[in-house]
Amino acid sequence: MSPFWIMVTILVLAALGYVLGRRRAGSVAAGDIRGLHSRPTYYGWNVALFTALPSLLVLLMWVLAQPLVVDRAIGANIPESAVADAGARGRIMSEVQGTAISIGEAVNKGLLTEAEARSLTPDNTALLDRLADEDITLTPNPAVLEAAKDYRSINQNASRTLTGLSLLLALGGFGWAMARTRPDYRARNVVERFIRGFLILCSLIAIATTVGIVLSLVFESYNFFQLYPWQDFFFGTEWTPSFGGGSRLGMLPLLWGTLYISLIALLFSVPVGLFAAIYMSEYATPRVRGVVKPLIEILAGIPTIVYGLFALVTVGPLIRDWIAQPAGLGNSGSSVMTAGLVMGIMLIPFVSSLSDDIINAVPQSLRDGSLGLGSTPSETIRNVVLPAALPGIVGAVLLAASRAIGETMIVVLGAGAMAQTSLNPFEAMTTITVKIVGQLTGDNDFASPETLVAFALGLTLFVMTLALNVAALVIVRKYREQYE
């Protein structure tokens, strides 16, 4: 049986176990389920879990381990004479696997009997020709053919053992759990322990992934700094990578572009978003709010590449023709201003939606208190609501900022890819994210600093956004403590 069908069988057994366990709990309770420690469902789950979990675990480990073990065994059997060099061993191993798969196909199609497959040799040209007619070409190399036959038989044995072992475990677990289904058995506690374990596992997956990503960034960055001095990376003012060698990989121009574009985006999005939020939460009637808020949130659903197109086709030329050229500030269609403005539009729903929630969280009693003292609605907003909501709004702005720093597509299409440092917002510049994409597109040689620099840039970016997110979280949490 293949692992897939073993798994299906185990799950069917488990489902059966659930039904039978529940029924058995009912029968041992002799009609009065209040005599049971747990509800019958828990006895059912208990049987199902003991049937499925141990055998599925064994199945998983076996499936993961089998290729490694078999490869090592076969690899040891291949005579040294057949292996030319270190790289050749890998090629031979894949040839062995390919041959084994081909033999398997031939047997499945009925071209070979199992006995013929076992006694296959390169000398048996009649048989090989018959296979070749059916488009199955086997290697003439006797060592490989021998190894492929071994490979097949080991795998077949392993598969049989696995089938037997996991089904036995499933049945054993089933029987054991059924035997323990008695009124005083604490099925609920056992099941809930399993569930807690499962919940912990799920949260560990997220954490482990984060750790894994950070580690990979750190290791590759370490490799980069072995090849390129860190001072030149962090403090270099020139970004001229060339894969031929002699690149200068200073990140300052990229950092400048990133910060400049983000700043413009925030200068645009924070006031607009905040005022929109104030309108929605304090002035708009419920009907207007019901229409306006979803419309603004649609902005958040537009893919950033579409914003990029908007920047490239509409905003860029508009800014160039109406502002930059008449003012003599530049002729570039892509500019920091373009990318910043379009990114600002993208961020409006972030700022407004978060601020709206935060402003709404300010208790109505504070507004009543202020209005009850004879202050106007606008005085109430300025003097009571906004100060009370300020920490949360700052948190929202920081989240928007970390979003802006990590944005790529709008920058590629809006600000171009030229790494330079200038104060003029109508010139093309570029950001860290764009250059990461640039360095990793095309043929990659993961031993050259020009490729590895992407990881160092990624790590820098990660540290920046992490710091912003942590700051935002700390501020937002402090705010929450104040009201709940």
């Binding site: 009637t285 419920p286 208790p363 009693s365 504070l366 507004r367 009543d368 208190g369 202020s370 209005l371 009850g372 003292l373 004879g374 202050s375 106007t376 005085e379 003097n383 009571v384 100060p387 009370a388 104040q482």
Partner: protein
């Protein structure tokens, strides 16, 4: 019930000018008719108590007196409410100016998340009652003394108002309302969130406030109404059932509903 204090109170219930004159007041929340045909005259420099079972409309009526119902979208008020002979629901009256004259203290203490000083100074600053810092300091001190809070907070005026205890917070809110120098002070169950000691402090305070303001207080506690008020109005199912001196309401109720309520049979 404190009969001694009741007896004292009866002396000064006569001959006060009318502050609020309400005729034929109706309030609707959407389709619900919350207040029906209420006619009442509230006297100046008097504590008037609104009593009645939950949901009888006493808080709703209180909120009509400074147009706080305007902040609720579905609420609609009909009828005449005259403050010193002026219709407060007239188109020309700005609710903001009205609320400066008719202050309000709410059921739950709601100090602003600002310093104690800034909480009290909030109203005077908005209405420009002080020309300089010294005057503002004076107003704040007077209001805090008036709310019997000065001695407890005079050394920590810069600390946050939200850090005070529940009773102190409520007295801070009263000080905040007093600092604005309103003519009428509305109190919506000001003691319901307070312990007995804080309650008695606030009640003493209400009694003193009567010298300068007309006070209207909504309360669940009949004992409290008897202790602090000179006039009492009994509301039931949106109707004003009976209105008279506190003494009369509690000792010689005219309406059978009033009698059952104060003797604890309904509500």
């Amino acid at each position: 019930m404190n009969d001694m204090r009741l007896a004292e109170r009866t002396v000064d219930t006569k001959g006060k000018p009318i502050k609020f004159s309400c005729r034929n007041v109706q309030v609707f929340y959407g389709d619900k008719h919350a207040i029906k045909d209420v006619d009442v005259d509230l006297e100046d420099k008097t504590v008037t108590a609104f009593i009645g079972p939950s949901g009888c409309g006493k808080s709703t009526f209180l909120r009509c007196l400074n147009r706080m119902n305007d902040t609720i979208d579905v609420a609609r008020v009909d009828g005449k409410l005259m403050l010193d002979g002026e219709d407060i629901y007239d188109r020309r009256v700005d609710p903001v100016q009205l609320r400066a004259r008719v202050g309000m203290v709410f059921q739950k203490p709601n100090p602003f998340p600002k310093s104690i000083y800034d909480n009290v100074a909030y109203g005077p600053r908005i209405h420009g009652l002080a020309r300089n810092k010294a005057e503002l300091d004076g107003i704040v001190e007077k209001a805090l003394r008036g709310a019997a809070l000065w001695n407890e907070v005079k050394d920590r005026l810069g600390e946050s108002g939200t850090g005070l205890s529940g009773g102190q917070q409520q007295r801070l809110c009263i000080a905040r309302a007093v600092a604005t120098s309103p003519e009428v002070l509305l109190m919506d169950e000001p003691c319901s969130a307070l312990d007995p000691i804080a309650t008695s402090q606030v009640e003493d305070l209400i009694d003193q406030l009567r010298e300068d303001f007309s006070v209207v207080i909504v309360t669940h506690s009949m004992q409290q109404a008897a202790r602090v008020s000179q006039k009492t109005a009994f509301f039931h199912l949106g109707n004003l059932v009976e209105y008279g001196t506190t003494d009369d309401i509690f000792t010689r109720p005219q309406d059978p509903r009033t009698e059952s309520y104060i003797s604890g049979k309904i509500g």
